[in-house]
Amino acid sequence: MVTTSFCLRGVEFANRVFAASGTFGYGDEVLDLADPSRLGGIMTKSLSWKPRDGNAPRRVVETASGMLNSIGLANIGVHAFIETKLPTLRTLRTRIVANIAASSVDEYAQVLTLLDSQEGVDAFEINVSCPNVKEGGLNFGTNVDRTREITRRLRPLTQRPLIVKLTPNVTHISEFARAVEAEGADAVSLINTLVGMAVDIRTGRPKLSTVTGGLSGPAIKPVALAKVYEVAKAVKIPIFGIGGIMSAEDAVEFLMVGASAVEIGTLNYIDPAAGGRIAEGIAAFAAEKGLSDVGQLVGSLKADLSASILQSWL
């Protein structure tokens, strides 16, 4: 038997495959279609202090091997989450990672503190791809100082694992990973969606109500792998790899480049039970390779780092 479990700050996860935030609801929507106990854990939909309506329609657009979304972090708010969702989630045989979104550093702290007082929340994932109201809506996640500030503020507030979820829409994502590592984050997760857009040429209007949105799905997998690779070379803390994973083979690519775990996003919309199958597929791959622990795949890429195109000609 191949070991599939792993630990983060003393919390054990049954395997290295998670459901990505915003792609698996709060964790209780598809209990009839997918067995959460086959996952390492579920990242909840991003939770904010107050409920959020989300953006006006149209919110989703299909693109070549991908999709754009502009949900606007629609969510029921942390209080309703605790009252209506957490009781069910506590009964699931999987780990619950509460993903937090906010429009001020105080709000992040508020939401985290409230959740930290609850049973059944096993870890936190901080979505820093949020508009900072203090700075006129500038994205926290594209500013390394703001990203650092959030981590510094949150770290002392919880003893549970703190994962900071990074945006790929920056020049050097490794800077951001280093900054949050230095502030004591237990892990980083990446990537969130790439900024993208689509136009309805018949009407001459953007397809999404918000003009631009977030690109996800297999289209972005190569970008996500390169970002994980860049971060893996820069930090020692574990990485949750995310972006276009559609199969166990895709997931193994992420592990090899240096992710300790992976999150399944868009695929849940197409195949809600895929995460469990992917976890089993990874274990089977490791077994075939004669490994005793899936963790041996992590960072196993045989590559001449100096040849990376980051330092070479395109």
Partner: protein, 257 residues
């Protein structure tokens, strides 16, 4: 209503009107549990990731362990489906969504379908008949050749070009009909393009006829995971409802179409 991810097997495919195809799938799981107004989300191709997302289709009719999908070719997904061969297996999620309120308090159902909005009406007709309720059906289409009218009863037709029945919209047709006939305890059930649903909602409100509309909308998942299919509510605590799980059927007046 027990949702499942299942494999349907293509039993037959037919061109049933101009540009309109009917696919008959053997799919006992959906056939046995589905109710009129619900839909299935179809994975149109199993190789390659473009197109990426499933495509939603109303279940048009149930016959034993078989279900019919009725659709027209608008893009890459429906084009692929229009050349499925018998024997092919098709990955489905379903049945999904909230069915029509066939058990609501009414005697006569007024079924209104515009274009491909006719799709769920055969199943609805069957359910109504099983309950001993009567149904009168009003279909609108651009032209006679684009009418799909199988398994429907007491049919009245409107066409944009006047090639059959009433020359005008299906809402006009309904209005004319109700001017000429007295219908005991009616309720409208409608499916079709947004402008038609909007007009019908206004009409129903004016006449104080209870009315249920089946909405369409872009869906990334169809199962409540993505929050991608909002429709604005009228009043209430939540601003949006999800078409895929709280709909696709809504009471007119409950949402802003």
């Amino acid at each position: 209503m027990s949702r499942a991810q299942v494999q349907g097997v293509v039993v037959a495919r037919a061109r049933v009107a101009e540009g309109i195809h009917r696919l008959t799938l053997k799919c006992p799981e959906v056939a046995s549990s589905m109710r009129a107004g619900q839909f299935v989300n179809v994975r149109v191709r199993d190789d390659g990731w473009d197109p990426l997302l499933r495509r939603p289709f109303s279940v048009s009719r149930v016959d034993g362990d078989r279900i019919d999908l009725v659709f027209n070719v608008v893009g890459v997904g429906t084009k692929a489906m229009s050349s499925y061969e018998p024997g092919r297996s098709v990955d489905l999620l379903g049945p999904l969504g909230k069915p029509f309120a066939v058990d609501a308090d009414f005697e006569t159902a007024l079924l209104v379908g515009g274009g491909l909005g006719v799709a769920p009406l055969p199943a609805l007709t069957d359910e109504l008949r099983r309950r001993g309720k009567s149904a009168i059906t009003f279909l609108g289409a651009r032209s006679r050749s684009q009418l799909y009218r199988e398994h429907l009863f007491e049919l009245h037709v409107a066409t944009d070009d006047g090639s059959e029945g009433h020359h005008g919209t299906v809402v006009d047709l309904l209005s004319v009909y109700l001017g000429e006939h007295t219908v005991p305890s009616p309720m409208i059930f409608a499916c079709g393009p947004t402008p038609m649903l909007r007009a019908l909602g206004a009409f129903a409100k004016e006449r104080s006829i209870p009315c249920e509309l089946s909405l369409e909308g872009e869906m990334a998942c169809g199962i409540g995971l993505c929050q991608g299919c909002p429709v604005e509510r009228v009043g209430g605590a939540k601003r949006y409802a999800l078409v895929c799980t709280e709909g696709p059927t809504f009471r007119a007046g409950e949402v802003i179409v």
